[in-house]
Assembly symmetry: C2
Homo-oligomer: 214 residues x 2
């Protein structure tokens, strides 16, 4: 079982993923700028599912205590966050669950990222870490209901095969989900872009659809 | 029933779509640089399914005879083809089924298009036409077997609602397929990028998967 830090661990997406991974037996460390908020978030998950291993720390302490660091923060804050923790991210597996989006036009629009994708931005800033990406299209609401089975395929991109395999296992360990090898990290652009597309479709059809490969 | 021209109508993808749309009752006009090849392709479809309305003409004649023009050519030739026929494309609905890809690295890689996507390239070059996009991820082999039901969702992007609706109906009229409103034409980038991703996944898993929204 891995020690997994969630940067942005007090947000709904971060808490949702943390809950599901903790339910699968992993040790989760929620990170926040505010240690008290991180601890509160950890305690709130223990109330949902007693017995799970979840703790709360500052983002830096969370990274230092973990093998694997999940970035679950809004894209706008990513560049700054990666710069702040560059020194302690080297050598770790970093998983990006970020989908860069803009809602100003009234509907979700995928943002163009100079590096290609949020995942590639992290890789470009911290060459010494290994980056994979996935889990961008999951409903935080569903993740936070421990008995709700979420049906869908999680497309995982990454250049390092072993890290990609580990990240696919993190998908497989959530009931109803299946990790799918989505190829090299450059494909993350397409998978991140899918989130805006799926949000648009869900808004039109008033549904909460996710993607599946048939 | 519409008069639909297929630019690149002698290629497997163009012939496959033409067969299915002709089976649904539309009048198909296969276009080619070589009129004889276009007629041969039309005749080959009539052998597969007698009684369908398919004819073969030069690309220019095909466009002039149609309400709706489908571009089914390799991305490399798109800019030139659009320039060649700019004068007769104005006022028509143009459907792009093109996914810009590069195979030089040994696996399919989505190409970056300055205009955003192949569909947006057409719209930029011919402001007087209406562009939609879709059908990038279908197997030509399956399309050409008239009794094979292809299960999947066809995500249609476009800025003009009526044209998008018509394009979605072109998906719905093929057995097993469902047209899904994929929002504005800017989303075509993501849908076109999906083709490389799905081809990669199919190669890894030795399957012929397509995408479905659950």
């Amino acid at each position: 079982m891995a020690d997994i830090a969630i940067i942005g661990g007090t947000g709904p997406e971060g808490r949702g993923l943390a809950l599901r991974w903790a339910m699968a037996g992993h040790h989760l460390i929620l990170g926040s700028r505010d240690e008290v908020r991180a601890r509160d978030a950890a305690n709130s998950l223990k109330l949902i599912k007693p017995g799970i291993h979840v703790s709360g720390h500052t983002n830096r302490a969370a990274i230092e205590k973990s093998d694997c660091v999940v970035f679950s923060i809004p894209y706008e804050g990513l560049d700054q966050a990666v710069s702040d923790f560059e020194d302690c991210l080297s050598g770790k597996l970093v998983i990006s669950v970020i989908a860069p989006m803009d809602f100003r036009s009234g509907y979700p629009k995928a943002l163009t990222v100079a590096e290609g994708s949020a995942a590639e931005l992290i890789q470009a800033r911290v060459p010494g870490c290994i980056v994979t990406s996935g889990f961008q299209n999951l409903s935080a609401q569903d993740l936070l209901k421990p008995d709700t089975e979420i049906n869908g395929d999680i497309i995982i991109c990454g250049d390092d095969l072993e890290s990609k395999k580990f990240t696919m296992e993190l998908a497989d360990c959530i009931a109803g989900l299946r990790g799918v090898d989505g190829g090299y990290l450059g494909n993350s652009k397409t998978v991140e872009g899918l989130t805006a597309l799926i949000l648009y479709i869900n808004k039109q059809t008033k549904s909460r659809s996710t993607i599946k490969l048939l």
